[in-house]
């Protein structure tokens, strides 16, 4: 039998030593179930999200109709718009004001107004006009639909008049108002959203380490042996990150103004309230993760597992309305989705409390849910 001394020690690759390292790595990989699940789960999740949910040519965008004409021409135009697949009329608004409110609320992406003399002008070839107001706070979401509009309407009118007359698109005038971001500057959409993304990344990740760091370093036993209540430990661990979050908010909002000239139309108080609730929901989520994870590594992985879909499904990277219904439902479960609506509404649309309070309350619900989860999961003993 060969003794270790018989073998050449200096060989740079020994299959035996290599297999020793390999075998050890595989054993450790198998023992760390969470990491193993992540390695299989993340690619699958990315595949499904990128493959099915993300669509850069959003269709079926909700629109409101203000029809002052109410004749066969206007019906034909509406029908053609729906047939095109880009527009989905969800509201027949009675007044322009009601439609305006829907647009501000984010209930619809377009308001299509057909003037009362529309039919008359079509018959007399007097440059019939159509007014389309688009929510351009996300310019990418509406651009394709607007681009296709002229063609859709011209053909529809031609079919209505007489099939042998060649349609003349120059007759028709479609007035497009790109609301909230008239020049379609994508920074106006991205930069306020970035505030949410930056906050989410740092807040969740830092607080998810809060308890796992204590257990990993062995200091948890001591902390629990001393008279600190679960609430004190929780508050003590999350409050510092509210300060960090406040600094980030100032930096990002300042940069939005100075570097990117993003308009800020709404109330600062409302914005700060929204940011505070959002940050609270994030630190509570992070803390809840730290009550679930057993190591800092697991906490990181759980954070990442949460981070990726929320980035893709919240409407930050891709138009929310471009996603299929199931992905939109999934997107509702991320605080970022609701925060993006709040901050875009406040900065670009100058919205008031009555248009955004629904989203605010959802954020409050997240805070309550995550706090409850954390307090239920927290163990005041080592059991």
């Amino acid at each position: 039998m060969a003794t270790p001394g018989d073998q050449p020690v200096a060989s740079w690759l020994s299959t035996q030593r290599l297999s020793a390292v390999l075998a050890k790595e595989f054993i450790q990989m198998r023992r760390d179930r969470v990491t193993f699940a992540m390695m299989l789960g993340v690619p699958l999740m990315q595949l499904i999200l990128f493959g099915y949910a993300i669509n850069n040519d959003p269709r079926g965008l909700p629109a409101a109709l203000v029809d002052n004409s109410r004749d066969h021409y206007s019906r034909a135009v509406v029908a053609a718009m729906e047939t095109s697949g880009y527009y989905r009329f969800v509201e027949i608004a009675a007044t322009a004001a009601a439609a305006e409110d829907l647009l501000a609320r984010g209930g619809v992406a377009f308001v299509v107004t057909i003037p009362s003399d529309f039919g008359k002008r079509v018959d007399r070839n007097q440059h019939p006009q159509l007014l389309v107001e688009a929510d351009a706070s996300d310019p990418a979401a509406s651009s394709n639909a607007i681009g296709a509009l002229n063609n859709i309407v011209t053909r529809a009118l031609a079919r209505q008049r007489s099939s042998h007359v060649v349609p003349d698109s120059s007759e028709l005038e479609i007035v497009v108002h790109r609301r909230y971001n008239p020049e379609g500057i994508s920074q106006y959409n991205i930069v306020p959203g970035l505030l949410g993304v930056i906050l989410q990344m740092t807040m969740v990740m830092m607080t998810s380490m809060a308890l796992t760091r204590e257990s990993e370093r062995g200091t948890m036993e001591n902390l629990l042996a001393m008279p600190a209540t679960p609430t004190e430990i929780m508050l003590g661990k999350i409050l510092p990150y509210l300060v960090v979050g406040a600094v980030q908010v100032v930096v990002v909002l300042g940069a939005a103004r100075l570097l990117f000239s993003v308009p800020f139309l709404g109330s600062l108080t409302l914005l700060l309230t929204g940011v505070l609730i959002f940050v609270l929901s994030l630190v509570m989520l992070g803390y809840a993760i730290s009550t679930v994870a057993r190591t800092q590594m697991q906490a990181m992985q759980l954070t990442f597992f949460f981070f990726l879909p929320s980035l893709l499904l919240s409407g930050f990277m891709f138009p929310y309305r471009g996603m299929p219904a199931w992905a939109q439902v999934l997107g509702e479960f991320f605080p970022l989705t609701h925060f993006l609506r709040v901050i875009r509404a406040l900065m670009l649309k100058g919205s008031h409390w009555h248009t955004i309070h629904g989203e605010m309350w959802v954020l409050v619900a997240f805070v309550i849910a995550f706090t409850g989860l954390a307090l239920v999961r927290f163990r005041n003993t080592l059991d």
């Binding site: 370093r217 001591n222 042996a225 008279p227 080592l382």
Partner: protein
């Protein structure tokens, strides 16, 4: 009033009792040693007493408070020193102590910290990061942190593991000083000399308390007799001795052998026949606490786990195979 008076404490992991109906009574001002092999349930018992673990069964009081329901009140009056150093390595000595002082709501914080630093000779190193301290200094910091709120009961879990003899001696002198002032101490240890410095000891094995009392009582109750054998070729004699009836332990101590057994007559007979051989002198010896513990450990069938309490969950599963029938 007893500082600790618990009955039938039980803790199970995976359906297997790690601590099995342990009862313990410690009077005020007493230093009680808690002994037993690794994985026998010492740490688990201590954690139940200080409220870190909820017992599955059992009842009792610690400092007059209910051990199950009043754990927060118990925590404020107990100092618990963990087996592994569990203060913040990225904080200095003074910062660690300030943290502890605030948790216990001591007033004024700064002077309480200074007082503790001076009392334990930590003042010269007050601004040193705890992570850079040697084992002995870490232990002193841990002791300082768990006595600064003037607890009535000190629970020390193997406080002197990995500490040099001088620091160990200083540590025990400190413990005796504190006990003289009325502090009650329950300390787990592996060291026989430390056990002998306790007023009373308790021996736990496989989660069961199998002996309690003063050192003398425990030695006497064990029923062991000891002979000291001197002479030539002791190594060879030791092997044959171990096979003789009545002899349970043969342990070399320098130039002599300690021969220990329970059955007095069988042991006497074996010694008499041995003495007849040339060059061998046999004399009656004192049974030591260590002899008693070796007997306890052998009797417990070697079933105990190798590693104790890195995580409570580990203790249940690490136990080796069933082991043979009991010796002795």
């Amino acid at each position: 009033m007893s500082a600790i008076d618990v009955k039938g404490l039980t803790k199970c992991y995976g359906g297997k009792p790690v601590v099995d109906r342990v009862s313990l009574r410690v009077d005020e001002g007493e230093i009680v040693g808690f002994l037993g092999p690794n994985g026998s349930g010492k740490t688990t018992t201590i954690r139940m007493i200080c409220g870190l673990l909820t017992p599955d069964a059992g009842s009792g009081t610690v400092l007059g408070h209910d051990v199950i329901r009043d754990s927060l009140r118990i925590k404020t009056q107990v100092g618990y020193m963990t087996q592994r150093f569990s203060f913040y390595e990225d904080l200095t000595i003074a910062e660690n102590l300030t943290f502890v002082a605030r948790l216990y709501r001591l007033h004024p914080v700064a002077s309480e910290v200074d007082r503790t630093l001076n009392a334990l000779g930590l003042a010269p190193r007050r601004d040193q990061l705890a992570g850079t301290l040697s084992g002995g200094w870490k232990q002193r910091l841990a002791l300082a942190a768990c006595i600064m709120h003037a607890p009535k009961l000190l629970l020390l879990d193997e406080p002197t593991a990995g500490v040099d003899p001088k620091a160990r001696r200083d540590f025990w002198d400190e413990i005796h000083h504190l006990a003289a002032d009325g502090l009650t101490v329950l300390v787990s240890t592996h060291y026989m000399d430390e056990a002998e410095r306790c007023h009373r000891i308790g021996y736990i094995s496989n989660g069961k308390m199998i002996a309690t009392g003063t050192v003398d009582q425990v030695v006497r109750d064990s029923g062991l007799s000891t002979f000291v054998v001197r002479g030539q070729n002791l190594e060879r004699i030791a092997e044959s001795l171990a096979k003789l009836p009545g002899i349970e332990q043969v342990a070399p101590f320098g130039n002599s052998l300690h021969v220990v057994g329970t059955d007095q007559t069988a042991l006497n007979k074996a010694m008499a026949s041995l003495e007849a051989e040339s060059g061998i002198r046999v004399s009656p010896g004192e049974t030591s606490l260590e002899d008693v513990f070796i007997k306890f450990m052998s009797a417990s069938n070697n079933k105990n786990s190798v590693v104790e309490n890195q995580s409570p969950k580990d203790t249940g599963n690490r136990n080796g195979n069933t082991g043979g029938p009991a010796r002795g």
